[in-house]
């Protein structure tokens, strides 16, 4: 029996390999291809009657190997007008860390706005891009991006559009009469011509709740699960043989007790066997 987290990891692994294979492309194109493939996987998975490993592997197999996609991308890059010089690839570990940090807020947001269950966060929404790059969606002079008009849209759709244009963003939450997750304000305004490094501020209805992770080390698995669920956190268990601990007790937790995290974040508990 495979759980959804394993399947997410399988897909994440595929996307990571694809990202590596596409390293030679201009950042905007690379980003867009990864976005599209990620969306392909999410859409195909949402149509599955059941999330089985075989079905997910089949989706990835039909996509082709990352190398195959990269070869196709290299072919598309071939004869192109020299008007847009290739930019150096700006993907470093630091950038990835920044993306993951921003992604946590997004994940919490999606968790809050989707099923609300303890399922994993859909990975169709990639973290925002913070590296400067040309716009993928509009033809504009080099170095200028047109800010999409986002007011009234659902925040996930709005963020997707910003990611597509290569703009980074911040989210501010307010209460309002609109449905939760609606973009009520944006700055700069839609249609503005801005530098690709501009950060767009979105004001969204709803609240992002952060919680403090309680200490559950030494508790039984059931007690720990109850405590974390009560705090609004998801739980994952890893079992490990531990000679000194009573079987079934929590011997380690990540993140540590006292950490502040977004609601619905997942806490991984190591349980002695």
């Amino acid at each position: 029996m495979t759980d959804d987290a394993d399947l997410d990891a399988l897909c994440g692994d595929y996307l990571a390999k694809l990202s590596d294979s596409l390293a030679g492309l201009p950042p905007a194109d690379r980003r867009q291809i990864i976005d599209q493939v990620s969306e392909h996987i999410a859409t195909a998975r949402s149509a599955l009657p059941a999330q089985s490993e075989a079905a997910v592997r089949d989706i990835l197999e039909r996509l082709g190997t990352p190398e195959e996609i990269a070869a196709s991308a290299a072919g598309e890059e071939g004869p192109r007008p020299p008007m847009r010089g290739r930019k150096p690839v700006l993907v470093g570990a630091a950038a990835v860390v920044v993306l993951i940090v921003v992604g946590v807020g997004l994940a919490a947001l999606l968790g809050a706005f989707s099923s609300g269950g303890n399922g994993s966060v859909q990975s169709n929404l990639l973290p925002p891009q913070t590296s400067p790059s040309g716009s993928g969606s509009t033809t504009t002079p080099a170095g200028v991006v047109i800010v999409p008009s986002l007011a009234g849209q659902n925040v996930s759709a709005a963020v997707q559009q910003l990611v597509t244009t290569g703009l980074s963003y911040t989210l501010t939450y307010v209460s309002g009469t609109e449905p939760v997750g609606t973009v009520v304000e944006q700055s700069p305004a839609g249609g503005s011509r801005v530098e690709p490094t501009t950060q767009v501020r979105l004001t969204v209805t709803g609240t992002q709740v952060s919680v403090t992770v309680p200490n559950v080390i030494g508790q039984s698995q059931a007690q720990a699960q109850a405590a974390l669920s009560a705090a609004g956190l998801d739980v994952r268990f890893v079992t490990k043989t531990n000679g000194s601990a009573v079987p079934g007790t929590v011997t380690d937790q990540a993140p540590a007790a006292g950490s502040t995290v977004a609601q619905q974040s997942s806490v991984t508990l190591t349980v002695s066997q």
Partner: protein, 103 residues
């Protein structure tokens, strides 16, 4: 051989698939992969879509899906329609010429 012929024609196949209706990525990728010999795998469609997008022949909009995550729908642009029309006319002549010689 096939790869070269494919390379010249496939982008117009994408444009033709979008002529009557907007489609999302998975739908396009599957349609092309199912057409025998057009693409080697579904994923190879995305670099092509990225280029068509960059060249302004197609356009994309996000739409909510009743079941599942939002989908990016691709739409043919005015420039895309012009390019497709030109290709169709050339293809017709080309095919007739080659067929006549091969026959």
């Amino acid at each position: 051989m096939l790869a070269q012929m494919r390379r010249g024609a496939i982008e117009y196949c994408v444009l033709a698939l979008l002529r009557e209706q907007d489609r999302y990525g998975l739908e396009l990728a599957r349609a092309l992969a199912e057409a025998d010999g057009l693409v080697t795998s579904e994923g190879t469609v995305y670099p092509l879509l990225t280029r068509l997008h960059r060249e302004g022949l197609i356009d994309a909009t996000w739409e909510e899906s009743p079941n599942g995550p939002p989908r990016r729908y691709y739409r043919i642009t005015k420039d895309g329609r012009v390019a497709l029309k030109t290709f169709c006319a050339q293809w017709d002549r080309f095919r007739t010429t080659v067929d006549a010689i091969l026959a």
